[in-house]
């Protein structure tokens, strides 16, 4: 989708080497209807298997943009739990990690399999109340530079405290699919530009499903702040 925004040189920065700065970018999306809606699990499974990839992507990968309480990890689980009160299914669906899949087709197949297995056990699930059906949407995403760049960890720390949540989302969540490696932009920059492998691993260990975007920001700040402090102590 875009060029790499950081150097890929390994092993840290040498004296005098020009550091590739971290350019904070941001994204946001507008919602578009697909025209499809499901009123029960059978329809949900059916439409998941037919609807366009953008819609499956939106209801899984983009769940975190919506600022939900973290009881679920995707819109399908959310609907099964809240609107159909099929709690066991919502637990199964919440356990699906979209980053485990190489492509949307595989993720779609797994979602369908989980719903289908549940329907074999409980073949007569309830219907959603009128108006509470599952509406399949998709998004059009806009990406733009925020004009904020960091040349070192201290600048990064300052910046990450102030950028909008859309920027944290872009670099922490959206990067996982964009880079195709399941990693976020922050840890990639820190490891590739500064050789901060342990810090990068710390950031990669932050569970993307267990925090709000603000929670992710706090964890990133905490880890980077500790690293900057350690670096300063070495200098002293």
């Amino acid at each position: 989708m875009m060029d790499n925004m950081y150097s890929v040189s390994k092993g840290g920065k040498e004296m005098g080497e020009i550091v590739r700065p971290f350019e904070f970018r941001q994204c946001f999306s507008i919602l578009k209807a697909t025209g499809r809606k499901a009123k029960n699990l059978r329809e949900l499974g059916q439409i998941i298997s037919e609807v366009n990839e953008e819609s499956v992507f939106h209801h899984t990968y983009q769940y975190f943009l919506k600022g939900h309480a973290h009881e679920y990890t995707n819109d399908f689980a959310h609907w099964a739990g809240e609107s159909l009160e099929e709690r066991a299914l919502s637990e199964h669906l919440s356990n699906i990690d979209p980053y485990d899949f190489r492509n949307i087709a595989d993720l779609r197949a797994e979602l369908f399999r989980v719903i289908d297995s549940y329907l074999e056990l409980f073949p007569e699930p309830r219907e959603a109340m009128p108006g509470d059906e599952f509406y399949f949407n998709q998004t059009i995403t806009f990406v733009f530079p925020t004009g904020i760049r960091a040349q070192n960890l201290a600048e990064f720390l300052m910046a990450v405290k102030h950028v909008d949540v859309g920027s944290i989302y872009y670099h922490f969540y959206e990067a996982r699919t964009r880079l195709g490696s399941g990693a976020d932009d922050f840890s990639a920059w820190m490891e590739n530009v500064f050789g901060k492998r342990s810090l990068a691993e710390q950031l990669r260990a932050i569970d993307p499903f267990m925090h709000t975007i603000e929670g992710i920001r706090e964890h990133v700040i905490e880890a980077v702040e500790a690293e900057v402090r350690r670096d300063m102590e070495v200098i002293a």
Partner: protein
């Protein structure tokens, strides 16, 4: 004007508006609705147009004119789209078309993008010249009278795209349909910061005690807003906690049922001096603002709701909100995070007690609610979304646009 929003709305929204402004500079964006003043659409357009102009976009706002027969008919259409049984005759539709035709002849419809608001000017599409034409529906059309909706759809289907406030309002008409929630203006009279004196003035005017926990619902006296249910909840709470209830709404001149419901509410409240039923005159924005700022807990216990922007208004003032799980309310209230969603008076009473007994939780929810509104329901986000729809229509087929 945009500079005034600095530090109030998300910085990224302003940056993105500037970026889009560069892309759409000197292009023309025409908005058309049916009233210059009164109502949420006109209120937002008044603020939105100058901001778009400041971005370098040649934004215009035109208003169609009509006779009483036209507006009686469009009121019927409005009600029918919201699910009330109304009969709209072919003759009325013919008149609707005729008024649109006359307006089309008078108005300059040349623009790069045209946004038509609501059903009144919908037939202008028959007179389109060029550009992208988008129909914006501000009405809850989740359960409309089919004949009326189908007739109107004849026009809507001719647009390039339509915009609805909530996903469940979308109609699968075979054109691009976008979902853009409405917004509040943080600098408008209803939401701007007030001084202590401003607030005291309102409390004195309506004889509201300043030193007791205050429960507030701001809404029309309409059964769908469940004012009786709110009083029931208040009575359940009152057994455990001291509190005052304020039900504030404007007399609904265009709603014949309003007076009946008001009477029911007054009878139900009986002689409880801690229940204040306020009939606010039109343009009471500052008083509503003051009441929301002084409330301890805000309710919007609707049984049916279009979007329910009073929820965002209260959340913007840092208040925890208890709302009915209907319409656009669940988009605004993240249950347990920015407030509580309830399904009954009992549920509302329980949550009110929780909040009254746990001021720290109330404060935390209020803070999170304010941030949720900042990120999702302010006017700059709505402008951003309108411009984005237009820009995406000019770049059709792309699901990611890099600016």
């Amino acid at each position: 004007m945009i500079a005034r929003y600095n530090g109030v709305v998300p910085h990224g929204d302003l940056q993105f508006l500037q970026k889009l402004g560069e892309k759409l500079r000197d292009k023309s964006f025409l908005h058309i609705n049916s009233t210059r003043a009164g109502g949420g659409v006109a209120e937002i357009l008044q603020r939105m147009i100058p901001i778009m102009q400041e971005l370098g976009i040649s934004a215009r706002w035109e208003v169609i004119e009509g006779d009483n027969g036209f507006f009686d008919m469009t009121k019927k259409v409005h009600n029918a789209l919201q699910g009330n049984m109304e009969h709209v005759t072919q003759k009325m539709w013919d008149h609707h078309y005729e008024i649109n035709r006359i307006n089309a002849a008078k108005l300059d419809l040349e623009a790069d993008a045209v946004l038509i608001h609501d059903p009144q000017p919908a037939a202008l599409i028959e007179f389109r010249k060029a550009g992208v034409w988008i129909w914006r529906c501000h009405i809850d059309v989740s359960n409309p009278v089919p004949e009326v909706c189908n007739y109107l759809s004849r026009y809507c289907k001719k647009y390039d795209a339509a915009i609805f406030s909530v996903a469940k309002f979308t109609r699968a008409m075979g054109i691009d349909e976008f979902i853009i929630p409405p917004s509040i203006d943080p600098l408008g009279e209803k939401n701007r910061d007030l001084t202590d004196e401003d607030i005291k003035e309102t409390l004195d005017k309506y004889h509201i005690p300043p030193d007791r926990p205050l429960l507030l619902q701001v809404s029309r006296f309409d059964r769908f807003k469940d004012p009786i249910g709110v009083i029931r909840a208040y009575r359940m709470v009152k057994k455990y906690n001291d509190c005052v209830l304020v039900l504030a709404g404007s007399p609904a001149a265009d709603d014949p049922e309003g007076e009946v419901v008001l009477k029911e509410v007054q009878d139900y409240a009986a002689d409880d001096s801690d229940i204040h039923i306020l009939l606010l005159p039109p343009f009471s924005d500052k008083d509503i603002n003051a009441l929301q700022r002084v409330a301890t807990v805000v309710l919007q216990k609707s049984l049916k709701e279009g979007f329910g922007l009073t929820v965002s208004e209260a959340m913007w003032k840092g208040k925890p909100v208890i709302g009915g799980a209907t319409g656009g309310i669940p988009l605004q209230i993240i249950h347990g995070v920015t407030g509580f969603l309830v399904h009954s008076s009992e549920g509302a009473a329980f949550r009110i007690r929780q909040l009254l007994n746990n001021p720290e939780m109330a404060e935390r929810m209020g803070e999170r609610g304010k941030e949720h509104v900042r990120n999702n329901f302010l006017i700059t986000r709505q402008i951003r979304d309108y411009l984005s729809v237009w820009f995406s229509m000019e770049n059709k087929g792309k699901s990611v646009l890099d600016l």
